[in-house]
Amino acid sequence: MIDPKDSKLTNKAIMTNKKIVRFENLKKGFQEGDRVRHVLDGVSVGFEEGKFTALLGPSGSGKSTLLNLACGIEEPDGGDVYIKETAITQMTDHDRTLFRRDNIGFVFQFFNLIPTLTTLENIILPQELAGKRRRDIEPAAVDLLDKVGLADRRDTFPDRLSGGEQQRVAICRALAHDPWLVLADEPTGNLDSKTGVIVMDLLLQLTSEAGKTLIMATHSPQVTTLADRVFRVQGGTLVEDKSVIDSDTEQDEEHHLAEVLAP
């Protein structure tokens, strides 16, 4: 068991384990009027360390719900979520928050930057909330900003940034505290296609460089060609789609990226 009070998992630990994100018989339904719509109906699946997994499926199929359950901001009706061997579904809300803060990065579709914080402040927020000193965490954040090409916008408030810039900041925020799991919920869904390419490029590049495990919900079949594994959410279950991966295994991922995502 992982002590949530000392909840930072090392990448080393991750690399030595295989399926360290595991859903077991996960169920989730939503009340709609007087009936319950079952979005996830007994999902059991594992995700490997350091890999990029894409979740495909139409709107309302349960992709986002699955990500929310994975990071513990939503609770399942049944079943468990194991991260490494820790059932986060068994934790208290407080412990789950600490765990999330230290080990998971989240990229939202709608950027969701905090409007009262500057670019840099947004990025270091999770670490500051964890009580880290600003001077200790700033250099890494500035470095990240530099990588996404926004070094000169560190003191700008989000409302002065374009959508693409905001999402680049959001990616930095998701990675700044060096999480081993990054969850992304349609990160380019709210961007024009050209900007979407740049942002996706950055996200994949930064996560793969750092060896992060990335689970992404997406509508885009092109993006799935870059994934290590692809799952389709359908009928409340997850079905692995091997067709996309098989056809692309021999291709150079980095070279392919611009091509597949190009408008």
Binding site: T97, L117, E121
Partner: protein
Amino acid sequence: MDTQPSTSLFPILMTSMRRAYRRPFQYILFVLGVALGVAMMVSVDLANGSATKAFELSTDAITGRATHRLVSGPGGIDEELYVQLRRELGYTNSAPLVDGFVNIPELGDQPFRLLGVDPFAEPPFRSYFGNQEGTGRFDQGALATFLSEPNSLFVLGSLADESGIPLGGTITLDRAGELTTVTVAGLLDPQDESNQRALEGIVFADISTAQEILRMDGKLSTIDLIIEDEADFAAIEAILPTGVRLENTAASSNAIQQMTAAFELNLTALSLLALLVGMFLIYNTVTFSVVQRRPMFAILRCLGVTGGQLFQLILVEAVILSLVGSLIGLVLGVLLGRGLIGLITQTINSFYFVVNVRSVIVDPLSLVKGVTFGVAAALIASFFPALEAYRTTPGSGLRRSTLEGKVENLLPRLVIAWAILCAIGAGLLALPGRNLILAFAGLFAILIGFALVTPPVTVWLMRAAVRPMDGLFGAIGRMAPRDINRSLSRTSVAIAALMTAVSVIVGVSIMIGSFRGTVVEWLNQTLRADIYISPTSATANRVEGSLNPSVVDDLVTWDGVDGASTARVVQVFSPQFDREITLAGVNGDISRGSRPYAWLPSGWDHDDVWDALATGDGIIVSEPLVLREELRYPPEPIMLETNNGPKEFPVVAVMYDYSSDQGMIWMGSDTYQTEWDDMEISTVALFVDPGTDPDTMVDAMRTEFNGRQDLVINSNRSLRETSIEIFDQTFAITSALRLLATIVAFIGVLSALMSLQLERSRELGVLRATGMTLRQMWKLSFLETGLMGLVAGLLAIPTGFVLAWVLIYVINVRSFGWTLQMDLQPAYFLQALAVALVAALLAAIYPSFKLGQMIIASAIRSD
């Protein structure tokens, strides 16, 4: 021809109803804001109205159909005049009255008016003894008993029934501590409600019984007249002895009622203040409801709904909700009025006139006024938000940032508005004269000005707070002041509401504290005698009746008494001011030279003044008389109607006096006795030998006089304590109203925080998803509200000070004529900060609790 397409608001109103059903909290706060404001207004109105109505009813009941009356000085009218009137002039439209106040322990603790009447002379004037069917439970036999048996009384049937007193039973009349047992010879049961109410405070005796009980042998209080023929005036006036005057009944009761006008206006102004704070709350709620629905409004505009319809929608919503709020406010107001009536009656009885109020009279006009004010306040407060709705364009779907941008642009204008309103307020306050309404208008202008400057000051303070807050609390500390500025349209209204309420607390606290300090100091300087004796009285702060002469003799010659000062306190008529004034005929100063004077003739000192009084060369008047009657310094001689006709008395000093706002006159007792032919003594103050313990002497006196006359014997210390108690009771109502204003403001802050929480649920969801713990979220909430409370508290300090200054130096002087020393203590300001902080922090509890229940994923999903 251009035809206006028919439009219906109904479909959009349906959306409002659904929203109210799904998000009732905002609507409840709106209703509550109106309800509390209306409740305060209605309660004060009803309590004031009930006291006035009770006074009117009892006056009407006593006046009856009399058009005029003959009145005289404190000694009363010789009853021979009545005989002369009937026999010599043959004027049968006249009725004698003996009138005074008594306590009747068996009928409760309110004072009663004892009326001595002649039942045979009564019919043209009053019909209580008409013995028509249903007027009462008595027969001719009872009337005969009433006339022939001494100490027989007629009382209101329902009152006797309530107290379990049967016909033929006995009750005790306490007149200035002298007790008389009387028999209930008849019960009056008037059929109409107003007579029923009027008689709740009156008991009837025959003339001779009343004369005996009220110690008015051979004297009448008034002779009532019905004069229809102008010629009769001359005939009657021709036989009037000096000192007796003919008075118009309507004019005199009007003059008495005018006494409380300033007091009542002050209460009304305080209640309006609560409505003003309530308006902030309404504005806040409506603005929020508009901002939140803006995307929907934009869609509706796309679908063909006009801007005008959206404007109407907001106003229709305001009318519906304010009607609901007003109706609840009426119910609360009546309930609250029942609580206030006791406090108001106490003050009126202490300072103005005796009135017996048993219940709240629900005047429909007060209720209509309450609803009208409630709806009007809601419409005014909703106007600007409605205008915002009107301006929604189909494409815009404006978001909060646009609104906040507009607020930001408004800031310089708000500072200008503050300056202009303060200038207008100062101008209104500086206008010469004693107009109270203008003074209150000035005060309100300044208050609104300070409320308007709240947003710019908040922005400035919050910008300054970012760095220190960052240092203290890190990221959360940095976010709190920025969040406040970012949601300025919402936070500044809440801060302004809280600031206004807290400034009222500060202002009124300073005023009451200064007033209390001034009175305590005045009592210390004035009350230098060791023991004070007066007869028991129907009401606090009022001397009725007189001391038994044998009691006075025993008191002044008591072993160990070093000196005595006696006073006869009466009401005398001043033709110059066309009203009655309290006059004290005194033979010495109870302050022994230590009291301060507002004015002395140049070169005079205390001894010169009191020598002049003793030799009959002058009188002293109180400061309120000078201010009330707008006399100049040095005051001109004052004309009073004596038993020897009108006479002018030169003024030799003006004294501070806080016992009456109607003004008072002190005169040497010899002069008083000569001019009014009245040897009675109302109060005695004793100086005891050094080395004698006054408290022991008080105990000995109480034992000695027990059974002879019920006396109020106070040592110096206990008299001061009693005086301060009366003072505190008088201000109890102010404290109650102050508290209510705070509750309204508290709800304002709560409403604002709820609004913010709802609006920011997505952002807060993101924070939680990013790793903010619940405890950190509570911390953020409390830091934000704490800052809001702090800003409100800080702003309330200068505002409260200005309010206190205006209350003390303008409103108070114009209302009551009292000069007060402003007493500024740090405690008042610390209290302001504490109240604002605590109110704000308390208001954060519920929204924070709701935040704790937030499902993060849903919050992030919500738009």
